[in-house]
């Protein structure tokens, strides 16, 4: 009786659920913490693994560490399988972001930037690895040639999803510069992964050159077939699936099945499964029949459930302190940043862009993020590199992702887009106002503002009330936005009061205001006032969000309500 011969004992099952819950829970928690401070989420997720792994947790309690994350047995096998699935789906999402037609449209500039942006890091990376393989971190048992090529590729790859996120954050995605960065990064990724597939083929075929040639030939046939026949077939098949299956579950199932088939195919060819998942992603994302909600649901699940577990498992088996080698880290960092930024800069200037844009593109393309870590992990598992280099690659990926956004912002003098929730705290929120008319309401809010700003409540009231007398600030839908510009105010300040009874602010629709937003801007900052009004419109202009805000009991619920439309904007169609 095969079914009853359970491979998993109750103890295995307990550990399996518990270890996954701990990994996912801590990775989400630290990831969200990183996001809160406007840092890449992946930093928090990797930190979770470092805390739970040999670097920290195993030092404190080796027994408990091995109980929760056994080095072998069923739980280990399941976790390994799960993270392979997770990384395949991560590459699916990366593939979905590749838009072949955008690359085509950008034409010459894309070609130049991606060419110089690849060739510089590639050549210098290979040269460095060739010159000092031991220092860089070659596995003593491995061959030199695949190692040299690997370092070149590791230096030249970028991280499409991270770059897309950074560009959205600083409001640059839909500009010419943004689209150029995206399309150059896509070409970069496509060629980089192809190159890595070649390196893996070289590894597999160590015994025979015929094996290498066969794997490379099969890889090229696979990519060629998928991007032509596969694309055509999928574009035809998708409407049939959408017409006949439950939505969006049917389509998502179909997409996952295709991704897993692609993964199985490339794994069978002799290169890694994630490569097939990536190509499947490109094919799937290319169809104009793919609906935004399908794409978004997959994106949400992969980035929020699978990716955190995968990145947390990275730190789970390696001691990041013991394997930290300063020389390796510094060499990798310097080569990675200098070659990439300078290479892209040259390409951009060559294509006729300004020097300022050139540097911005260089720093944008420099972000390595998640992809570098995936690459490094595969190389480590394949025995190509040692743990020192892996740790250096992880640090390089994190550092480049961290500096990319701020550097572009500084160079292009762009501000990160802010939201109403960024301006709020529980000290700036009145859950139930006592005021019943506009004058006392403004006075009540001014008191709160005074406590936050160190200005006098009387001055704030005076400025706001005299503005109110010029023209009422009830904007309808039960929202009012009394505002003023104040001398001596260091930064824009928002105070929000909820009124249960409603306060007449002379709104065009005649309804009394129940959410009153006091908006204070510095006298010297011309754009701050408008920016604050835009934030209010974004958060409270949305009907479901507004009614949730009206129904909020307490600050947390109010904050949750106003954040709803902000999130929608972050993941708008790229």
């Amino acid at each position: 009786m095969l079914l009853a011969a359970a491979n998993l004992t109750p103890h295995d099952i307990t550990v399996l659920f518990l270890s996954l819950a701990v990994l996912l829970g801590l990775a989400k928690f630290l990831g969200e913490l990183a996001r809160k401070y406007h840092q890449p989420v992946v930093i928090g997720e990797i930190l979770a693994g470092i805390l739970l792994g040999p670097t920290v947790f195993a030092q404190i309690s080796p027994d408990l560490y091995l109980w929760l994350f056994p080095a072998e047995g069923s739980t280990r096998t399941f976790l390994d399988g799960f993270s392979i699935m997770a990384v395949a789906f991560l590459l699916l999402v990366a593939g979905l972001e590749v838009d072949l037609s955008t690359i085509w449209k950008q034409g010459k500039a894309t070609a130049l930037v991606s060419f110089t942006g690849m060739i510089f890091p590639m050549v210098l990376g290979c040269a460095t690895a060739w010159a000092m393989p031991e220092l860089i971190g070659k596995n003593p048992d491995g061959e030199l040639l695949p190692f040299v090529f690997f370092v070149g590729i590791a230096m030249s790859i970028t991280a499409l999803p991270v770059i897309a996120k950074i560009l959205i954050d600083i409001n640059l995605l839909k500009t010419d510069t943004g689209m150029l960065i995206m399309s150059a990064a896509m070409v970069n990724d496509l060629l980089g992964w192809l190159g890595f597939a070649m390196v893996l083929a070289m590894m597999q075929g160590q015994a025979s050159d015929a094996g290498v040639v066969q794997t490379i030939a099969l890889t090229l046939v696979f990519v060629g077939l998928m991007l032509t026949l596969g694309r055509w077939l999928f574009h035809r098949a998708l409407p049939v699936v959408q017409a006949h299956t439950a939505w969006p579950g049917g389509v998502i199932g179909f997409i996952l099945v295709l991704t897993m088939l692609g993964a199985a195919a490339t794994e069978a060819i002799g290169i890694h499964a994630i490569f097939g998942a990536f190509i499947a992603g490109i094919v799937i994302g290319d169809s104009s029949h793919l609906r935004e909600r399908t794409r978004d649901t997959i994106y949400q699940f992969v980035t929020n459930i699978f990716a955190p577990v995968f990145f947390a498992t990275i730190g789970l088996r390696i001691n990041f302190i013991a394997s930290f080698d300063l020389a390796t880290v510094l060499i990798v960092l310097v080569v990675a940043i200098v070659t990439k930024t300078c290479g892209c800069y040259l390409g951009a200037v060559w294509a006729g862009l300004s020097k300022r844009e050139g540097w911005a593109i260089g720093f944008g393309m420099s972000a390595r993020g998640a992809m570098e870590i995936v690459l490094g992990q595969l190389a480590l598992k394949a025995g190509l590199i040692n743990e020192q280099l892996f740790v250096a690659l992880v640090i390089m990926a994190l550092v480049t992702s961290l500096i990319s956004g701020p550097a572009m912002q500084r160079i292009l003098q762009r501000k990160a887009k802010r939201h109403l929730s960024d301006m709020l705290s529980d000290r700036q929120y009145i859950s139930a106002m006592t005021a019943t008319d506009a004058r006392t309401a403004i006075a009540e809010l001014a008191e709160v503002a005074a406590a936050v700003t160190k200005l006098k409540a009387a001055d704030i009231f005076e400025a706001t009330w005299s503005r109110e007398l010029l023209m009422s600030t009830g904007i309808g839908n039960m929202v009012a936005v009394p505002h003023a510009r104040l001398e001596g105010l260091a930064r824009p300040v928002v105070v929000i009061g909820r009124s249960n009874v409603g306060i007449d602010f002379n709104a065009p629709d005649g309804d009394p205001a129940r959410i009153i937003c006091l908006l204070l801007a510095p006298e010297s900052d011309d754009s701050a006032q408008l920016e604050l009004l835009r934030m209010v419109a974004e958060s409270l202009g949305d009907a479901p969000s507004r009614s949730a805000a009206l129904a909020a009991r307490g600050y947390m619920e109010f904050l949750a309500a106003v954040r709803l439309p902000e999130e929608a904007h972050v993941r708008a169609k790229t």
Copy 2:
């Protein structure tokens, strides 16, 4: 170097992706096929496993079967772990459907129906199992008492998600009868799973009575704490999570972590992990802060990705033909159906409902669906029952789910709600009409209708055109609905034509019609005409769906477009 000591070889990874893809792919395909013919999806999913398992595939090619689904090793371990995860998430979704306040509101009727609906099957199930344990299918090595209790519980459990789906399909969910069935089923599920937890505790504690008592005590403490303190804590914590994390990914991650912790807790107590997931689902679903989209995203992923794989693995290890025993199947079927329907009928009539309603409730509650199969599989794995009884339970679950909907429809004389897509086929669709005015357009559609109905095109045209002359049928938004009632027509018929140039149907907004729906109803059927108009309004009244329909190239894309809003209605808030 622990990380490099990969447990999974490239061959393992290939098989892992391929076996999952084949399982999910075939399960989705057959599941959707079942759905198309208005049958429970789970039937198709189980059939996929039967086809891929020892019953069929292993008979045809034993080697290939064992290659794809190895009986041991890493791939087997991963698949086992995956289906345990899947079934835990399935119970999470079942728990989310339980609404404690609804149960409370329904009061006396719920109490009576759930009481008699449980006690009858329980007592008679136990009696049958006691009287003829070997015939029913006791595992010869197991103890009698847990087996007897198990059969009683297996007879008395219902399948909340299946029942909810059936009630939605026949448009009964929001009626008094529907709510009564739902709340009685919730009580039933809650008590049934508690009872099953006791049986598992009895199994675990075979060696010592102290163990049984301890497990039962811990279970009660767990349930008690979760439903009081846990509920209160979760309701407080949810807004904090929603306020501070990416949405909906952060909340979904939080929910999955809690579910896995619950699962680990109950597994550690000595009852099965799914019980903790079920209780976690009740706690989570109970919070009014849980947003509909969060619930829906989890529901979609679980029912469309995890559930199909789980149900397909059911058939993967058992030969359904070899283990089929007619006597066992018949006894189980008769006892299950008779005791459940009669028990609920008596409770309903006792509570003051009509006899007709009583029988409808009885057949509604009789649907066992997915839950019965989960229960059976656990009992089989625990060595409580043999494969004959397991197969009989699967068949009983499927048969009761199949007859439940039609029986209620017949008893209450309700029609299943139909949609525009149910009325269409590619023979009833003109992709690009040649007509340029209303008269020739109706003639063109009448020709197509004649081919489908065997009526004369001239008669159809005559009736529709004379109706059109009375009052134009352009309803705006580029849609026109020429219609007629015809003698000799057996059933309602729809023909749809798309016009690229637009045809003037004198719409109130002045725009020419580009989607013309010819609606033909039988002369004798008074409600058919209105029903057809409702279907058109449902599918084409929705703006995104209408613009997709306007842009459709070919029938498949048109069908995909009009089905979009239908799907939204199916999974409306219960």
